[in-house]
Amino acid sequence: MRGKHTLIDVRVTKPDAASVIASRYDNKPDALLEILHDLQHEVGHVPEAALPVLAKALNISRAEVHGVVSFYHEFRRKPAGRHVVKVCRAEACQSMKGNELAEAAQKSLKVKFGETTSDGAITLEAVYCLGLCATSPSLLVDERPMGRMTPQKFEALVKELAS
């Protein structure tokens, strides 16, 4: 069915990136998660406009692509800040004052989990276990792991990321 795709935001259309990445994986439908990872890595998020492009390239329905993008917590539908900070909210970190760290992080950045600071510097995300459970509480800054975190160290990190 071809109707009006009112959801497509033409300003962030990156059809080229999506089709180039898909062809890198031989347009195999089972590689959809890999393709979405690469797309998010290269574009910063998974733009709405990429969904029909991927559907066509992989010969699956748009609903299937949408279903996958919306199922997985990792995929972002909107652009993120310059840095993404993922704070672990799981039990091992909770046992080491992880909840206090989570509260302090939201307060310090003046955002809730899933939001980006107003200056576009940092996106704060919740994550359930980073496998850094003996050096908890832990977080991941972009791809850099950080353990034995405290609200004070978090403040210093925010300053470092802002500069």
Binding site: H37, A90, Q94, Y128, P145
Partner: protein, 517 residues
Amino acid sequence: MIKVYVPKDSAARAVGADEVADAIVAEAAARKIDVKIIRNGSRGLLWLEPFVEVETAKGRVAFAPVEAGDVKSLFDSKFHEGGKHKLSLGLTEELPYLKNQERLTFARCGITDPLSLDDYISHGGFVGLKKALTMKGAEIVAEVTTSGLRGRGGAGFPTGIKWKTVHDAKAEQKYVCCNADEGDSGTFADRMVMEGDPFMLIEGMTIAGIAVGANKGFIYIRSEYPDAIRVMKDAIRIATTAKWLGQNIQGSAHSFSLEVRRGAGAYICGEETSMLESLEGKRGMVRAKPPIPALIGLFGKPTVINNVLSFAAVPYILAEGGKAYENYGMGRSRGTLPFQLAGNFKQGGLVEKAFGITLGQLINDFGGGTATGKPLRAVQVGGPLGAYLPASQLNLQMDYEAFAANGAMVGHGGVVVFDDSADMAAQARFAMEFCAIESCGKCTPCRIGSTRGVEVIDKIVAGIARDENLSLLDDLCQTMTDGSLCAMGGLTPMPVQSAIKYFPEDFDRPAKMQAAE
């Protein structure tokens, strides 16, 4: 030239290992000392990271925990020649934490350079695979059956039986899939294997491929493990170039290729059928069983699915014989389990021991009690779906059956301790909340039950019709246990009900306040 080891394990990096390595390089250059830095895996004494070792004539000596700021004084005291320093710990091998372990799977981790094939081979690597290349598939399966190895992901299903089912299945294409979606909080053994000894996982999976007649394998690694993904991809490339993977392995008739696939932040994809869906590029919706994946698995083909630690145990089993592995353990839990001491531990880290060690020995003898120094209140074994146990249960032996008989589970071997500041009603609520966030949504008891569970616990904690709501929660838990499609909804009641059973006072506070008024 002096060899200095600074771990590259992400837990070490998380506490400054990269900065320490850089500082050592800079300081050595300034002092014109010829130092070679080797970025090894972690020894598993994680509370001591960054754990720096220097090779000496007597063996490797340890200095820990080292901060970048300590490096100057380390050189001043000639640590590179084994000189004494306030951070000296002596010979690594003599540290009781390591000496008292039974490391079969983690025999090499932290000792070698993870991506050096020479290191791997000179430390016993590929002995099992070489043997497997001379054996019939059925013989390999029989060896694994003899070992008594059971699924280390947590379900504890006998690996030999699973492999036999795939071996006996008739199909042109079969697959081997490694579940490296280690999502349980308090567990990191899979990550340490992948970052610290990746060729061992490759060897174990290749042996599985030869055993069941599969020539293609996938490693499904969670996206929360960027370092593990990088190291595994590099290791596969190196092994393929050296013909330990690919067509005609080491000139034999066997072929086996491997591919890393990334997860995307869905806890449910640690459930094996959900992982298969994800590997096929779909939403991670749990499949109904039967059919079992051993017969109808990835792309509908017979598939071996095992956890990282199950595959990682296989090279030892082939090299030393199933009987050697079976000699460790108790009852029907054979061999060793790499336990992970996590959270509020004074000495958190990886402890590989034979089954049969008590929970108390792990917590006190190895873990040294709580990090905060406060009394231990609760222990959660086996991840977010495991029971919360009180201090009175510390005499429980680590054994699949002993735990099951006590309404708990060993799971993937994660042990998380909480001190007396823990609010167990809040932990029970979190268990339901986590299930609500992570449920795939396919079955009603899990999808709806978890949300209702949060609401009912909120009412109980608020003191609203407490007795009625406690019995309603009990009924809900029963429905989730009996009616869920997989372990996500089926086991979420375990932490909830154990918290109510062992810590009833935490669900009773508002009523007490009312009574006092």
